[in-house]
Amino acid sequence: MAETLLSIRGLTKRFGGLLASDRIDLDVARGETHAIIGPNGAGKTTLIGQLAGDLRPDAGAIRFGDQDVTRLDAPHRARHGLARSFQVTSVFRDFSALDNVALAVQAHRGSSFRFWRPARADATLRDPARAALQSVGLEARAEVRAANLAHGEQRQLEIAMALATEPGLLLLDEPVAGMGLDESQRMVRFLSTLKRRITIVLVEHDMDAVFTLADRISVMVYGRIIATGTPPEIRGNDEVRRAYLGEDQV
């Protein structure tokens, strides 16, 4: 039984009268790829927000490794090894792709209170950055301004930035959203190569991606997780089919 890397207990979040997270319990094992699916409004984005550190839960706890991270803000969680991508692509638009990843490297290792040496000439930042770009297949676009990259390339860039921080857990918010068929298949293939090495939690609507990548799937409806299991188990679950997949799906 693999050790638990991420442990969520009783996570609750209200927005006024809306209960977005309803006492969520979830364990994610080290090396596992865990997908979270559910209809719109199920509370997936709120859950990601609380995992990433953007939202403070009203109740409950999140443990990452052997540490309670519930009270830590996003930068601290990132420094503890929790990397993320955003639902709406979020990069440093005016910087080159290489600069973007180098910044991630810089944030992860070493002090940023250096005032003299140019960061762009620093090999300890540039080399790992190039390696990360290479791993996602963007090395040819290293000098291109991020704003000028294609949508899919920007998503790849986000993954490269996440990888550059040598994370223990990768939190992906709809990684193939807005991608065409070819692009999303490439992304899924790439993410598959990361399995086992990095624990992945992803929120997705694209069922092909989900069923290809996930070791286990959790289904969320109205702020609760109604089922967790392997892809075959989820496919066969009547309640899930009714709530989300639809009777005639899969």
């Binding site: 990433a52 953007d54 803000d73 996003a74 930068p75 601290h76 990132a78 420094r79 990397a83 993320r84 955003f86 979020s90 990069v91 440093f92 638009r93 005016d94 910087f95 600069d99 910044l103 991630a104 810089q106 944030a107 992860h108 070493g110 002090s111 940023s112 209170f113 250096r114 005032f115 003299w116 040496r117 140019p118 960061a119 762009r120 620093d122 930042l125 301004r145 930035m161 996440a162 550059a164 921080t165």
Partner: protein, 314 residues
């Protein structure tokens, strides 16, 4: 070796500034020495503001406060007979940096509109504090007893000497600033401006870097204030008036935000414009006001960008 357009413009600017004293002497127009020296002092103030405004995205509307602090850091010791320039200017930088630390620590808890208003309010507070200093002239301000003394190394009473001292400080400031914005620290600040959510997601806590930049900018403003007091040989709380903050901000925008060298051009341009306009009419501000509005609406790229053909900070 091919020289970039940017380097050429910078070199030309440096040479032009260095030539002002001899040309002024030749044409017997000492006024221009004074004018350009004043421009360079404000350029230092504008460059220090660009560090946080152009590179850090912090719209601080209270930057003139640091000029005031720097000026009084020279004026008050001089009043009491302490004329050592090292002490005075050191105090100017230290005091402004310290007050920037306090103001920044509180203001940076907010952002956007609130941040603008709060920096403005704090500067106003210091302005009222200056007015209440009866001993040092209060509302009317006071004359500077004597220019800062540097014990024989340089004599600021010599206009040309003072000019080259200011020029040297400006060049040094620009050189240090250039290293700063390309350093790891500078990149962290620029990243926080470019996309704060992204910066946090990769592990940067923006506050320490922003605050440090704020303090550095404050110190720079303080140094400019010390120079300004020596320049005008008179200091008043008006140095800290919020309209001065607005002027310095305009120099940054006019010259080109986030370019470091743009604000120098902006300072020269704005002060020249004010000089020309005030010769036309006593009511020159009624012309300047709409000009500023038009610049903001239509020419935000700034003069430096136009000269060099570059886009703003990235």
């Amino acid at each position: 070796m091919a020289l970039s357009r940017r380097t050429l413009v910078l070199a030309a600017g440096c040479v032009a500034l260095a030539l002002v004293p001899p040309i002024a002497a030749l044409t017997n127009q000492p006024f221009y020495l004074d004018l350009f020296r004043r421009m360079m002092i404000f350029a230092i103030a504008a460059v220090s503001l660009d560090l946080i405004l152009g590179y850090g995205g912090m719209v601080s509307f209270g930057h003139a406060a640091y000029l005031g602090i720097g000026a009084y850091a020279v004026g008050i010791p001089a009043y009491h007979g302490i004329q050592n320039g090292w002490l005075q200017w050191g105090l100017a930088i230290a005091a402004s940096a310290l007050i920037a630390l306090v103001i920044g620590a509180i203001s940076l808890r907010t952002s956007g509109v609130s941040f603008i208003m709060i920096t403005l309010a704090f500067a106003q507070m210091l302005y009222y504090l200056g007015i209440s200093l009866e001993t040092y002239g209060g509302d009317n301000g006071m004359r500077l007893a004597a220019r800062s003394r540097f014990g024989g190394i340089v004599d600021l009473r010599e206009p040309t000497v003072f000019y080259y001292v200011v020029l040297a400080i400006l060049v040094l400031f620009l050189a240090l600033g250039s290293r700063l914005v390309e350093s790891r620290f500078g990149m962290a600040v620029r990243a926080a401006k470019s996309n704060e959510a992204r910066a946090r997601a990769i592990g940067f806590s923006p506050l320490p870097y922003k605050l440090t930049a704020f303090v550095i900018a404050g110190g720079g403003g303080g140094l400019a204030g010390a120079l300004l007091a020596n320049q005008t040989e008179y200091l008043t709380p008006d140095f800290m008036h919020w309209t001065r903050s607005g002027e310095i901000m305009f120099m940054v925008i006019l010259g080109g935000m986030g370019t470091l060298f743009g604000p120098v051009i902006g300072a020269v341009a704005l002060l020249l414009l004010e000089d020309v306009l005030s010769a036309l009419t006593a009511h020159w501000q009624i012309i300047l006001g709409p000009i500023l509005v038009l610049v903001v609406l239509f020419a935000k790229r700034g003069l430096f960008g136009l000269l060099v053909g570059e886009t703003r900070d990235g």
